[in-house]
Assembly symmetry: D3
Homo-oligomer: 245 residues x 6
Amino acid sequence: MRPHDRSPDQLRPVRITRGFTIHAEGSVLIEFGDTRVLCTASVEEKVPPHKRGSGEGWVTAEYGMLPRATHTRGDREAARGKQSGRTQEIQRLIGRSLRAVFDLKRLGERTLTIDCDVLQADGGTRTAAITGAFVAAQDAVSLLVARGKLAASPITGPVAAVSVGIVEGQPLLDLEYVEDVACDTDMNVVMTGAGHYVEVQGTAEGVAFTRAEMDELLRLAEKGIAELVGLQQRALAQPLERRAA
Amino acid sequence: MRPHDRSPDQLRPVRITRGFTIHAEGSVLIEFGDTRVLCTASVEEKVPPHKRGSGEGWVTAEYGMLPRATHTRGDREAARGKQSGRTQEIQRLIGRSLRAVFDLKRLGERTLTIDCDVLQADGGTRTAAITGAFVAAQDAVSLLVARGKLAASPITGPVAAVSVGIVEGQPLLDLEYVEDVACDTDMNVVMTGAGHYVEVQGTAEGVAFTRAEMDELLRLAEKGIAELVGLQQRALAQPLERRAA
Amino acid sequence: MRPHDRSPDQLRPVRITRGFTIHAEGSVLIEFGDTRVLCTASVEEKVPPHKRGSGEGWVTAEYGMLPRATHTRGDREAARGKQSGRTQEIQRLIGRSLRAVFDLKRLGERTLTIDCDVLQADGGTRTAAITGAFVAAQDAVSLLVARGKLAASPITGPVAAVSVGIVEGQPLLDLEYVEDVACDTDMNVVMTGAGHYVEVQGTAEGVAFTRAEMDELLRLAEKGIAELVGLQQRALAQPLERRAA
Amino acid sequence: MRPHDRSPDQLRPVRITRGFTIHAEGSVLIEFGDTRVLCTASVEEKVPPHKRGSGEGWVTAEYGMLPRATHTRGDREAARGKQSGRTQEIQRLIGRSLRAVFDLKRLGERTLTIDCDVLQADGGTRTAAITGAFVAAQDAVSLLVARGKLAASPITGPVAAVSVGIVEGQPLLDLEYVEDVACDTDMNVVMTGAGHYVEVQGTAEGVAFTRAEMDELLRLAEKGIAELVGLQQRALAQPLERRAA
Amino acid sequence: MRPHDRSPDQLRPVRITRGFTIHAEGSVLIEFGDTRVLCTASVEEKVPPHKRGSGEGWVTAEYGMLPRATHTRGDREAARGKQSGRTQEIQRLIGRSLRAVFDLKRLGERTLTIDCDVLQADGGTRTAAITGAFVAAQDAVSLLVARGKLAASPITGPVAAVSVGIVEGQPLLDLEYVEDVACDTDMNVVMTGAGHYVEVQGTAEGVAFTRAEMDELLRLAEKGIAELVGLQQRALAQPLERRAA
Amino acid sequence: MRPHDRSPDQLRPVRITRGFTIHAEGSVLIEFGDTRVLCTASVEEKVPPHKRGSGEGWVTAEYGMLPRATHTRGDREAARGKQSGRTQEIQRLIGRSLRAVFDLKRLGERTLTIDCDVLQADGGTRTAAITGAFVAAQDAVSLLVARGKLAASPITGPVAAVSVGIVEGQPLLDLEYVEDVACDTDMNVVMTGAGHYVEVQGTAEGVAFTRAEMDELLRLAEKGIAELVGLQQRALAQPLERRAA
């Protein structure tokens, strides 16, 4: 049996807290079980060099993990003087995922930076980050629209992500840490609200996986992401009281 | 008048939440008004080179600020590849302050690392960090005692910190951001529970300050720290239910 | 039509030159059309810290691109002082792909490092690198067996990789540069000789892709990889005259 | 007794040599006993980004220690690739201390950089650096006035610094190395010629210190700084023969 | 006797392959025996800051060695995060050598960057690099002339380089690795086609060398460089078929 | 005519001050006219990895220039985070030059580090550094002998260095800054007391130089170095009163 009596195709309890901090244009604490990620969306009225003068904006992401978000303390990347390959891989993934639902022309020449900082880790930090980042981005865009900076939203639809994997032959949805460590195959899937794929990243940690296994994993992911998109919409349907910062 | 109708010698509302995250041996969210700092205490059974074979332990601290903890987004230090001078100054201050109430011999050859990460900044992040770090350190030490790793606590007493400053000629306790920006003199004071000084760092941002002004600032700081030590004790008097991580 | 009159499911001409340089235990120049990657396999009788005393070996990879391997000159990473996120992502992928066909216990406490350096780039450098790296690794292992350092090969079977993508609605095998730039969806697939998946990394650069499109891409990749594994085996079947270095 | 038969409230012999090197606009070798610091003041007709277009100038400082300025050789920071936290702390302190006596508007849009390089260390390098930096800055400003670049001096008065501390219960002025190592409390004080405080940085290295002890330390510092300001003025009263560089 | 029955004043077999890669304006693989260096010349229509607005161009070089170009694998400089002192010394030498035969005014405000990457090392990599770099630079310049970007060539004549050294008392031309390791004195000489010196860098690895020995080494170098210049001219006399990249 | 009425084959006034600082085992301020370099020799009872267990010692050098040693202020290398190629080239040259007169076996397993820091620059800093470094090394070795750590000196003879160059067709000895800037050819020569070459580094900054010019430059260098060796010996013949550090 899975911990907490979860069935194989069941998500962990998901909580989405909007307005978690007061300064950012969007600020969301997302929890997938014991995994907790703070996602803030910051708007800056400038773009990186490759977009200057293009009339287009840019959406990018940075990712970090507090040193003691994990079971044993990890090095602080700022102290070590560089981000790990894993960190860079994850923040590039989050950025691409968000850009998949953004019309950069409609955003105008401004940059939306999503910072995803893991306060507590228990597996699935990158998928929680993407799912929370979308909500934070939506809140930031709503503020731009409310302030008259944008005539219409540049967001073309929701995006969310979940991990799936095979543990002792059993395909499972939304792996938590003890499952992640034990799994043979680990797949992160990012999909739009329309059920199309933005990213599929499957890795055989142990034995290579078959086409049949991949099909089953994709089915689980599709189910989980549909639920996550529903939870995002429910959270966004609540009124957000912004603090005068 | 001060924001929120504070009197000149009044602290902001302080909240201390123990057990804020589940993995660390001590984990405290401390809030001084809108300033929120997550302090985790991690125990490792090893010491840095300069303590190896000495029979003594080590207590150290690291400090960071999430990029959008502030009004406008700051660079992520991990991405920039180095910690700023300000960050290093603050983490050295936190480490010294904690060591002032630790008997390193009684700690034995292990390291206690306090990570202070600012989730939201509104002035006084370093003093909130020191005050919260003490509570996290106390929880970590209690766990070591409870597990039989330590016969007696190596902590010799409480330590807490507060900022004071002079704004338009008026000495104030516990500056928040708008006051900090406007002040002529800014002083951070760290004291023990016995009312002795661990650190005094006063800086004239504008005009130099007189001895009479310094005396008044020290009086305010003493009052504030006595209250903070009381709040630490009240928080630590509550039972802490630890999650099985 | 595709450049060089290629049909949608056709690989570019592939050339595998073993013994391309004289010092490495395995040294292979692999060409996928105009993409040329030099893959060398180096054996060292030591392992990284996380494997010390485990009785197991380690297989890892590093990736680089000569500054003028591309249409316009890129920065030299050594001069800039750090490897890009893209470089790190690719070398981590190559390392995982190789480890998928290695029994690290049978390798013993030694490290096999595969250096993949792109001399000329025209799309698909990472898939060419993985495909060539396997041949270089095989030559290095054969040398260890021939010298009596290994009783039996730790390699459990072949591994190869290819890119697939959708350009203007058309799924294509083995994208070259002009196709890569124009594609909506880009997928890199790594498979074993037994036809099982080691890695699947699909990214929607433009519009998200459907499940039907993914199925077609996976079909193309499977066909291409089967051919590449055949070409690897044919190359390895030739005698290798080693230079006395 | 103190080394060299010093009384507790006595400075070490102080020597101030102006025009120590020929290229800088101000160049001073300052000696506090065996501590020797070369302070050069360089004028550049540009300002850092945060001052551009403000009509204001900037005053900043950098600090370094030659590897064998100390009893045992320390790492060269340039070779190690970064400045230590201690170095950054000190150079920030020197910069703030100088700015306290500068009217940046009257300086105009130019930068004065004070380089303080320790040729020989025997305690008190940062206080000697501040005291010497003021003299170098004064010489650089006099040159700007003499050349007609400045109508009036932007310097509002002298600034100097000294360390004080408690060794075996005895408060002492101007600690040398063997005293610094043995002290319980160490305080660096920066004051203007008018006897006002610019910086007070007190640290309990061992046991925390009482208010009475702090008062005694401040009294000693005030005495020492008054003497240092006198020595600065006497040195500046001498004619300076500048080499045609 | 020398390896391969070489006489003391004989070069190793030299091969110059133009058009080795397709993207660069000049691309040459040069081989001095088993030493193989890929030299590419890249033209960019911009100059570094110190040449902006001067009407002059710039010629510079970068040098690298693939990790397994050597007998045992060396660290990848990009992974280590910095170029070694040796690498910097060599690339500065190559740049100076090329600039000695360039009229920067006639080049116009553009930059020619020569990348010299060692694919296989067997002694003399820097001298092979200089000799090959000249050919690549010549091909890049010819292309600029052919495209009408330059009215006349800014190249004033050929430049080539060779190493000489004393092994067990015997002066030798063009040292290969086993000789280089054993030599007492090692000298790298760079000369123009007119027989004048651009660089002479002689180093006593063991015992210091006499004036008579230096004279003999210079005589050998002069002979070798005259031959290398002839080989460069012969190679450049062949038609170069450029690939449409 | 040359500045200060120097004849073409005349050195600048040379001053060698031993015991310039008190902590180092050898400490020499050397002046070639207005060029002033502080050379300290530090002994450590350990060797770098490549010498461990070899029974041999190591001699190495580091070089730095204070930011305002020059006419205009240069970046501080420690602040910029890396040493320039020029700095690395020079410190490698100094290290090789010193090792040429050291018998590393007789030195035993200890390291002699020579730090050469330029306090004031006016051309020829690297040759002054080598000439001064030898005196500092000699003083450090004498101390080891006096303390009974070494039975006999590992130094095999003196070493010194000078620059020569051609300015407007005229070969000159010991270039100062204004000559260095104007010269066509610049050569640094390092020789032993026996008149043998340790290093010859000649560079054509402008037009390439002929063999006849090189011969004349070598003649000048030989004359200058013979004089410098005499000055070293005269300085070392004086008694050195060491401060009890």
